[in-house]
């Protein structure tokens, strides 16, 4: 039977609102205001999980986001399940279910617990050392390693929740709503700064809100009373926005911060639907005030991980804030005064405190006296050397600590207890501070890393800035606020503080035991089971860099990122290696501070919003006619149009034949189109293309090849002169945006003197490409009054015409080698144009063809596709396109590079055609080409870039790049495949209609 450990009504717990929830299948009760952790503790449940490596029983250790042990699976087996959630952060609601992780069959009886007894065989680097040999066994090991990796279970069905992103701009962002955050936000807002105050908890006030230590007074009130009044006043301040349940995950340069706002996680399932679950706030703040507080440190001693061993500050919070006693026989273990405050807090509520073990020799502060008066036994200069209790702490053994703190002496005293509060001092939460790029400095006296060099407009106030006593906090906060806000007075000037807090502390990173270190288990990283032994072993094995030790021992690599133990790891390394902490430095604090869900990261960019598609104006027709689509950049292009159950090969063979024998039609709307105007347009084209443009007559088209300055082919396309100073350039589909960008770059930076204007018109025009021997007849039917004779409208020319009232631009150009026209109309008429062509072409069996057939037809002609037959290392000369490179032009982009020693090499890879010995064998694109089969290592001459079975030639054809290929015409080469060698012959890359007779057919 579980005990009820509620000790008093707390104002933050609503005892009239009883909530039932399930943990590991068992029903428990808590109250509104409880976290899963506080509700479990109230039911005397400490054992909540198993550790990662040794499967040791672990209990709740903290009361906040730094929790390493109490990580649970929320709502298992539902579509809202979430692994690795900190029980200390989960607000309970009716119907909540949670279960332990990393244990089987149950947290109470876990088979994996055997690892604990085998632990001598699992030293640091166990995996690296064990699974290295024999190398061939890796595949077998991998199965088991993967099986044991990870903690919780990721959801397997679609996330039903909505996530959101929001941009926020503010003058001042205050991170953390403890005493310093609240005062900072209040004063910033009052001075007309647009202020945002965020805190990860659901209540404001941090730890001061339950600070009832009678020796501390602010304006003659207890800190708690006084702060509540301050919080009350926040409500009436203009310019101030407060967001609770909002955790800042990342702090980037230029005061750009990311925070996760939790909106529905604390609600019952029925109230979660159709609401935004979590929102990622993208905050740009002019000034940032970090008031993130400090994390209490544990102490590192033998068996310091048993359920029931908690942070002293957590025990205090559970008692003061949640009204829960964490144990009935409590002991504290400390190196400073803060455990005494926790002890008095319990004592004042009638909770039994057995003893305080203090590693210091003495302390004379008022709170210590008070503890003595209360009759609580204090063991000065003592240390815990061992603990017992497998699933719950039941006793500790203590011994006298030597003067130098490295050994223990005397008689061993055993103290029976069920809860141990450890207090190892405080670590300022500088995580966000360092993420911003600012630098830390080690304070040797306080044994903490403190903010030192700020890189942006920011301050760290309160305990995250190294101030732990209320009077210091307020004094330093006041000055820092005046400096950053540039103001002369604040509310803080008139605050009167009386305190009796002492900072005396005795810091020992690793506490000794009566047993040798090798026989003890002093855990440094609780979640990953890294002990002080592992760290020392890593040092013995030669690791020196803190980053290496971290990775080798996995210290600080759990979901909690070592928020509790990292400082001790550093301390142990420094002590062992004899280095100063300041010189050792820290591992990098990386975002996020606490884990983010994938949902929050992607926000609304899911489903059809995951990636944007561009569709052509004819898209609906393609869909209605059952086209298969392929993605080309962001475009959805019709790939092929299968009929009667054809596969791709069959459809493409049919489409290719039809286009050559009668008529085909292609949706070419995706080609990039750039409108070029200006008195220097011709000169501009001269400079960007390899061929000459000055003499191109109005109404004529020309194919152009564009290079990079390094001489490599960048893009190609046909450009048409439609007026004296007016051109339309087409680019490849994928290259459109980059080409425009490159042209703009040259115009703005290298040739600002040129009078040229560029406008992308890709989306403004729809293009139908009509091709085949009957294309002329079809066009004639659509525009009867247009003169289509070769004299009036020859190949490579342009005409404006009208289809009914629709203005269109027609280019007689060809990418297939057939007589063909590209008809451009305003996009909104694209589908109409297409249907008109289909209707007119019916009697000629006009066949729509997709990109695959387009590729096949152009390959028959040996036309390259930039990006398929080229890869950024091919010059026009390599492509056997010398004819397009002007010898007369003084300069064009890339010209000089064409006669660098490297581009003139004759053994460069050059474009050739390949024919297979067996005409039915189609080569694989990407296949390697060799000249010798029995050579080792075999020399690769090149690879296949395009390969098809040509229905028009009735044989397999391929384009390839081959080293020195130009001089290999007729040579026999080999394409070795997995189970055969294919014999091929090098040929001219133009396979079909070499004399271009069909263009005028």
């Amino acid at each position: 039977m579980n005990k009820n450990l509620r000790v008093k009504s707390s104002e933050y717990i609503d005892e009239t609102n009883r909530i039932s929830f399930k943990f590991n299948g068992k029903t428990f009760h808590g109250f509104k205001g409880d976290t899963l952790a506080s509700a479990l503790l109230a039911n005397d449940v400490h054992l909540v999980g198993r550790s990662f490596k040794y499967h040791r029983p672990r209990g709740i250790m903290t009361s906040g986001s730094e929790e390493p042990n109490a990580i649970v699976q929320i709502n298992p087996n539902t579509n809202r399940t979430e692994p690795n959630v900190r029980a200390t952060e989960v607000e309970i609601y009716e119907g909540l279910e949670a279960s332990s992780q990393n244990c089987w069959p149950s947290v109470e009886f876990d088979i994996g617990g055997i690892n604990n007894f085998l632990s001598p065989f699992f030293p640091a680097g166990f995996y690296y050392k064990t699974f290295m040999w024999p190398a061939s066994f890796w595949e077998k090991y991998e199965f088991f390693i993967r099986h044991s990796a990870g903690l919780g279970k990721s959801p397997t069905s679609t996330d039903p929740d909505i996530y959101d992103h929001r941009n926020i701009h503010c003058d001042v962002l205050v991170v953390g709503a403890g005493i310093s955050g609240i005062l900072a936000a209040k004063n910033a807002a009052k001075n007309n700064f647009k202020t945002l105050l965020v805190d990860e908890k659901n209540e404001l006030g941090g730890s001061t809100i339950y600070e009832n230590n009678e020796f501390n007074k602010i304006n003659n009130k207890t800190p708690s009373e006084w702060l509540k009044k301050e919080i009350e006043e926040l409500k009436n301040i203009k310019n101030l926005k407060i967001k609770t349940r909002t955790s800042v995950a990342a702090y980037h340069q230029y005061n750009y911060l990311l925070a996760r706002e939790n909106l529905t996680d604390h609600l019952e399932a029925k109230n979660k639907t159709n609401k935004i679950r979590q929102r990622l706030l993208k905050i740009r703040a002019k000034k940032v005030i970090l008031a993130a507080g400090a994390l209490e440190r544990p102490l590192i001693f033998n068996n310091n991980d048993r359920p029931g061993i908690m942070l002293s500050s957590a025990i205090k919070k559970y008692s003061e804030f949640y009204g829960v006693a964490c144990g009935s026989k409590n002991v504290f273990f400390t190196n400073n005064d803060s455990a005494y405050e926790s002890a008095m807090s319990l004592y004042n509520k009638g909770i039994n405190v057995e003893a305080i073990i203090d590693i210091r020799e003495q302390s004379e502060s008022k709170i210590v006296k008070k503890v003595k008066e209360a009759g609580i036994k204090i063991y000065w200069s003592h240390s815990i050397v061992d603990t017992t209790g497998y699933k719950r702490l039941n006793s500790i053994s203590i011994m006298k600590l030597s003067n130098d703190g490295t050994s223990v002496t005397g008689r061993k005293i055993s103290i029976s207890c069920d809860c141990l509060g450890v207090a190892g001092g405080w670590t300022p939460a500088v995580h966000l501070y360092t993420q911003s790029g600012s630098k830390l400095k080690f304070d040797d006296e306080k044994k903490v890393f403190l903010p030192n060099q700020n890189t942006s407009e920011q301050i760290s106030v309160g305990s995250c800035g190294g101030d732990f006593k209320i009077d210091e906090i307020i004094k330093n906060l006041n000055q820092k606020l005046k400096d950053i806000l540039n103001i002369n007075e604040t509310d803080l000037d008139s605050i009167k503080v009386e305190i009796d807090q002492e900072n005396s502390k005795r810091n020992i990173w690793l506490l000794p035991s009566d047993k040798p270190l090798g026989k003890t288990k002093p855990f440094v990283d609780y979640q990953n089971d890294a002990t002080a032994k592992d760290i020392k072993l890593a040092l013995r094995e030669g690791f020196r860099s803190i980053e290496h030790v971290k990775r080798y021992t996995t210290t600080g690599m759990g979901t909690d990122q070592g928020k509790l133990g990292n400082m001790h790891a550093l301390g142990i390394i420094a002590d062992t290696a004899g280095i100063k902490m300041g010189e050792l430095g820290t591992t990098t604090f990386r975002p996020p501070y606490t884990p983010l869900t994938f949902g929050t990261i992607v926000g609304r960019n899911v489903g059809k919003f995951f990636d944007i598609f561009r569709r052509t104006p004819m898209n609906d027709w393609h869909v209605e006619n059952k086209a298969e689509f392929e993605n080309v950049g962001q475009w959805k292009r019709a790939w092929y149009y299968p009929i009667n159950g054809e596969n791709m090969h069959q459809a493409v063979q049919r489409e290719s034949k039809a286009a050559r024998q009668s008529a085909g039609i292609l949706d070419a709307s995706t080609l990039g189109k750039i409108d070029i105007q200006g008195s220097d347009a011709s000169e501009f084209l001269n400079r960007v293309y390899t061929n000459a443009w000055s003499k191109l007559a109005i109404g004529k088209c020309r194919y152009g090849l564009m290079l990079n300055e390094d001489g490599m082919v960048y893009d190609d396309g046909v450009t048409t002169r439609i007026g004296e100073n007016h051109y339309i350039m087409t680019t490849t589909t994928g290259g459109a945006a980059n080409v425009l960008g490159k042209l703009e770059d040259y115009l703005q930076t290298e040739w600002p003197e040129l009078d040229v204007y560029l406008t992308s018109v890709t989306d403004h025009y729809a293009t139908a490409s009509l091709c085949g021997p009957n294309s002329k007849k079809i066009l004639k039917k659509i525009i009867p009054d247009l003169d289509l004779s070769d004299e009036s409208f020859p190949h490579m020319s342009f005409k404006e015409a009208k289809i009914g009232n629709i203005q269109c631009r027609i280019m007689r150009i060809s990418f297939t080698g057939e007589h063909s026209y590209e008809i451009n109309v305003q996009s909104s008429y694209g589908k109409h144009l297409w249907e008109k062509c289909m209707e007119a072409g019916k009697e000629f069996n006009i066949t729509p063809y997709g990109t695959e057939t387009m590729h096949l037809l152009r390959a028959e002609k040996g036309f390259i596709i930039v990006g398929q037959d080229t890869d950024g290392t091919m010059t026009p000369i390599d492509l056997q396109m010398d004819w397009i490179v002007s010898k007369k032009k003084y300069d064009f982009i890339g010209k000089r590079s064409l006669y660098r020693s490297d581009t003139m090499r004759e053994d460069r890879k050059q474009l050739v055609g390949l024919l297979t010995e067996d005409p039915n064998v189609v080569l694989e694109e990407g296949a390697q080409i060799v000249s010798e089969l029995n050579q080792s290592p075999v020399e690769m001459l090149g690879h296949v870039t395009s390969s098809y079975f040509s229905p028009n030639l009735n044989k397999s054809i391929a384009l390839a790049v081959v080293r020195g290929g130009k001089k290999m015409m007729g040579k026999k080469l080999f394409v070795p495949m997995e189970n055969k060698n294919i014999n091929v012959t090098v040929v001219n890359p133009v396979f079909y209609d070499e004399k271009n007779e069909r263009l005028n057919a």
């Binding site: 740009r284 960008g741 703005q748 600002p752 300069d891 010209k895 000089r896």
Partner: protein, 91 residues
């Protein structure tokens, strides 16, 4: 994420911009008269400074204008921004 003060549009988020490499490398006016080494110097050689660096940036998702930026690469502090053709500030 920097906050970049586009000389034409004002302060905008870095995601609207594209970095364009080292600034003040002028394309030779007479490339054909350069030796292979001289041309290679223009074509390939770029500085990669830890510290103050002169760079080209483009407001790609904005006004599409190119401009120059002086940035300390060690802490990403932007020291100056000026238009194309303007003189770089003295270091």
């Amino acid at each position: 994420m920097f906050l970049i003060n586009c000389p034409y549009c004002g302060e905008r988020d870095q995601q609207e911009f594209k970095a364009g490499g080292e600034a003040h490398i002028e394309r030779p006016k007479q490339p054909t008269e350069l030796s292979d080494d001289e041309w290679a110097e223009y074509l390939f050689m770029r500085k990669n400074i830890k510290g103050v660096q002169f760079e080209r940036w483009n407001h790609a998702h904005g006004c599409r204008k190119w401009f120059n930026m002086v940035r300390d690469t060690s802490n990403d502090e932007i020291k100056a921004i000026y238009k194309m053709g303007e003189k770089p500030p003295a270091q």
